[in-house]
């Protein structure tokens, strides 16, 4: 086995932990814990970005690291926590269908994305290209998290987790997106979050619950 430099190992470890957290989110029932996991994922992303910035010496990565820290580790989780408290859904837990089954689907997804990323990774020139598979996996896992949930809050968490995956993918493939895109995405996420927050209150007012199951009654009957 060839010896990889230590900081790269650290990066790989961060990537792996990101994936681990994605799986934990897939299996987590409680909404509060789900938000905490999201914050933890943000923190991992922050560490990874800092490491990458330090390793490649690209200054703009420091900026995106700071953005990650501010937005994904502090602001959004805080916002979500406030929302949870306001909406009084701290103790909400979702009846998940068959955790092992979901995990199995997740596992298949991981195999798929790893296989998908292998040829792409050959093309990329960055040192972190191996993490690309993990980034794809994180995105798809977040998708599955969203598919299997019924509560609006967990949908949002899934959405944010997907954004984390996208960010990480961009980082490992090309050392981050152009600054302007990054800012734009960050702003988008923030705005989406605020809009969704408003939606939550509306949905609850309408149905007395955040269960998206209720939205089905909105469709027109034939």
């Amino acid at each position: 086995m060839q010896h990889t430099p230590f900081d790269l190992q650290l990066l790989n470890a961060c990537a792996a932990i990101l994936l681990l957290l994605s799986f934990a989110m897939l299996a987590q029932r409680r909404i509060v814990a789900l938000v905490n996991l999201l914050a933890l994922q943000g923190a991992m992303l922050f560490i990874a970005t800092m490491l990458l910035a330090w390793r490649t010496g690209q200054n703009h990565l420091y900026v995106s690291a700071a953005l990650t820290l501010g937005l994904k580790v502090i602001a959004l989780p805080w916002l979500l926590h406030v929302l949870i408290k306001r909406l009084n859904v701290q103790w909400d837990s979702e009846p998940l269908l068959n955790v092992p089954g979901t995990m199995l689907i997740g596992l298949v997804t991981v195999v798929f994305s790893f296989g998908l990323a292998q040829p792409i990774a050959e093309l990329a020139s960055t040192a972190t290209r191996n993490s690309l598979g993990i980034a794809v996996a994180v995105i798809l896992l977040a998708f599955i998290t969203m598919i299997t949930r019924r509560k609006a809050m967990s949908q949002v968490v899934g959405f944010l987790s997907m954004e984390n995956g996208l960010f990480f993918g961009a980082m490992s493939a090309t050392y981050g997106m152009p600054m302007i895109v990054e800012f734009g995405v960050a702003l988008d996420v923030l705005v989406a979050m605020l809009v969704l927050g408003v939606f939550f209150f509306q949905i609850r007012e309408q149905f007395d619950s955040l269960d998206l199951h209720n939205l089905e009654s909105l469709k027109e009957d034939q």
């Binding site: 092992p100 089954g101 195999v111 790893f114 296989g115 292998q118 040829p119």
Partner: protein, 648 residues
């Protein structure tokens, strides 16, 4: 050599089973010894002028045949010994006829293994199918057994057609059907693939590979126990032999991706078989499903061998093949032992339903303890034999990520996870099987009259149990013998030179080793030492008392888990595998009855529609059948006219 096989046919119909079956056993032993001793000798070929004139049968004895002949001889010897004590009057077919069928069955299996042209092979293969059909339907008075026999015959013939077609492709336009000609002919890739797939289908149908397994859990339990033992233990291995023969010998250089098909099917079969075994309530069906699992493991190994062989990693291919051959041998012994154990129970109690057995270890200690050997072996516990082949297969899997194919190198190691899961589930199944049949309290009062096995039956069980133990304790010697066959098939063999006789270390580039004798010695030493110390230091009396009843004052045998109860976690976890019907009694029911029926989704999803379709197709041409002679003559006349018109 072939004379020895021929000798297996006694022509007597008299009721001399006390002589015939032991004689068959003796010949089996002789066959095994001769085959094993001749393993390193050169290939022998002969032409037999029997059968149709100008169509001689070729026979050939190479190392692959020898390995399987040794398997056939040694395993069937134990079964024959047991059968000598088992068959009695008054159970369907007369014992004399049964003896003839039984030995014809054995002989045809032997002939399958030595046949060297498609004609001889197919004759032997069909004889094998027919004789085993008659054996399955030995108790033809029972309708279920008749329908099981029909299903078996149907699947056997569908498989045989596929094998015949495969041979048809393999001759490669030479129209010579000897195996030598097939070896010599080279096929283009699509044709070779077609031949491989047809062979896989045909032999898979015989072996019970998913989705062609449906006949197996019906037919194997229907047969008398010694026959079930032979079918599960030995006959399924002829299908393994067939796949190996066609893939590695007749086609010669399989493409690597072919391997993925048996690998995937094998893994699915393994999990499927063991999960279904866990929910069975009939002890012989449970064992039949366990056979399905083991077939899955074998096909997994074959697939792995093909992949390794195809990408040029021949040493690993040889190791995977060793695992396959070893497991075939192990399974022949373990499963025969277990089926014979159920045979003993069946004779003693007349009961196959697990829900009416229990506590038989007190009444039938010989049968129970000998079956325990088989149970521990098939559960994959060291130092018995089931563990060795599992160990070899897992070790092979550890190299699968080195296959130079993207994506595949990531998927293959996951197979190890499935194999490990299947092996662990096999432990669950076997604890259920043994615990419910032999342990606990008798669930029916009639069980008190159960009697232990007789002399011949005991001898048969002991023979197979010793086989299990020896195969487990002396892996290096066994592998040394099997290596001759892998050398022939893949051109490589594990390097065992220069190692101690008690150690198994088949891979030179990786430090892995296993020494079952030492392991056993340590466990035995610890057990004996503990026992002595406890005895000497704390010599206190043992008092017998009633078991703790939690103060309720009444312990009923019905409070024990039933077979359904013990399988409940599996039913709960793998719920999507089953098509389930369940009646839960209401709490106010005064005579509550719980009923659960678990069946195979494939049966309803795939087989019944096909059967339905066939039925409809048949009905649609049924108008042809008018029942009047003159109409039939008209058909013949029209056919003749059309043929003449076309030909001229």
């Amino acid at each position: 050599m072939v004379g020895a096989v021929g000798l297996l046919r006694p022509h007597s119909v008299a009721l001399v089973r006390r002589v015939l079956f032991p004689l068959g056993a003796l010949i089996g032993v002789a066959l095994a010894i001769v085959a094993a001793l001749s393993l390193t000798e050169p290939v022998e070929q002969a032409t037999l002028h029997i059968g149709l004139p100008d169509l001689p049968m070729h026979v050939r004895l190479d190392n692959l045949s020898r390995v399987f002949l040794a398997l056939l001889g040694s395993a069937s010897a134990g079964v024959s010994l047991f059968a000598a004590g088992y068959f009695r009057k008054g159970e369907g077919t007369a014992p004399g006829v049964l003896g003839l069928q039984y030995h014809l069955f054995l002989a045809s299996m032997g002939f399958v293994l030595v046949a060297d042209d498609a004609y001889a092979f197919m004759v032997a293969w069909e004889t094998m199918a027919l004789t085993s059909y008659f054996l399955v339907t030995a108790q033809h008075g029972i309708p279920e057994i008749r329908s099981a026999g029909f299903l078996y015959l149907l699947m056997a013939h569908v498989g045989a057609i596929a094998i015949l077609l495969s041979f048809g492709i393999l001759q490669g336009g030479t129209w010579l059907f000897s195996f030598d000609a097939m070896r010599a002919s080279t096929l283009s890739t699509p044709w070779a693939t077609a031949a491989f797939l047809l062979a896989l289908f045909g032999f898979g149908a015989k072996a019970g590979l998913l989705p062609l397994h449906v006949w197996l859990p019906e037919a194997h339990p229907a047969a008398p126990s010694p026959v079930s033992a032979l079918m599960s233990g030995v006959m399924l291995k002829t299908a393994i032999y067939g796949v190996l023969r066609v893939t590695f010998d007749l086609i010669g250089d399989p493409l690597w991706w072919w391997g993925l098909i048996p690998l995937g099917l094998g893994l699915a079969t393994a999990i499927f078989g063991v999960v279904f075994a866990a929910v069975q309530t009939d002890m012989k069906r449970l064992l039949a499903y366990s056979s399905v699992e083991n077939i899955g493991v074998l096909f997994t190994g074959i697939g792995l061998a093909i992949v390794f062989h195809g990408v040029g990693m021949t040493e690993l291919a040889a190791l995977a093949l060793i695992a396959v051959l070893y497991h075939s041998l192990n399974h022949a012994f373990m499963k025969s032992l277990l089926f014979l154990g159920t045979g003993a129970v069946l004779h003693a109690t007349g009961e196959r339903n697990l829900g009416r057995l229990g506590g038989l270890i007190h009444r039938m200690p010989w049968a129970a303890w000998l079956t325990l050997v088989g149970v521990l072996a098939i559960a994959g516990l060291p130092p018995l034999n089931g563990f060795v082949s599992e160990w070899l297969l897992l070790q092979t899997f550890l190299f699968s990520h080195e296959v130079p194919q993207p994506f595949v190198n990531m998927l293959l190691p996951l197979g190890a996870a499935i194999v490990a899961l299947a092996a662990a589930l096999a432990g669950y199944v076997m604890v259920k099987f043994f615990g419910i049949v032999f342990l606990g309290q008798p669930r029916e009062s009639s069980l008190a009259a159960a009697h232990d096995v007789g002399g011949f039956e005991k001898a048969g069980l002991v023979w197979l149990a010793i086989g299990c133990v020896l195969l487990g304790l002396l892996p290096r010697q066994v592998i040394h013998s099997l290596a001759a066959a892998t050398e022939q098939l893949t051109g490589a063999a594990p390097n065992l030179a220069g190692q101690s006789w008690w150690l198994l270390a088949p891979l030179t580039e990786r430090d892995v080793s296993y020494a079952p004798l030492v392991l056993l010695a340590v466990i035995v030493a610890v057990v004996v030492a503990t026992f002595l110390i406890v005895r000497v230091v704390y010599r206190r009396p043992v008092r017998l008392a009633a078991p703790w009843d939690c103060g309720c004052g009444r312990l009923d045998p019905r409070m024990q888990d039933t077979a359904e109860g013990f399988g409940q976690p599996i039913r709960h976890i793998f719920v999507s595998f089953f098509a389930m019907e369940r009646d839960l009694p209401s709490p106010h029911d005064l005579a509550p009855r719980y009923r659960v029926k678990v069946s195979d989704r494939l049966w309803q999803g795939a087989y019944l529609p096909i059967a339905d379709l066939l039925q409809r197709a048949a009905n649609s041409v049924a108008w042809l059948q008018q029942g009047r002679i003159s109409v039939y003559l008209t058909y013949s006349f029209i056919t003749l006219v059309v043929l003449l018109a076309v030909m001229l």
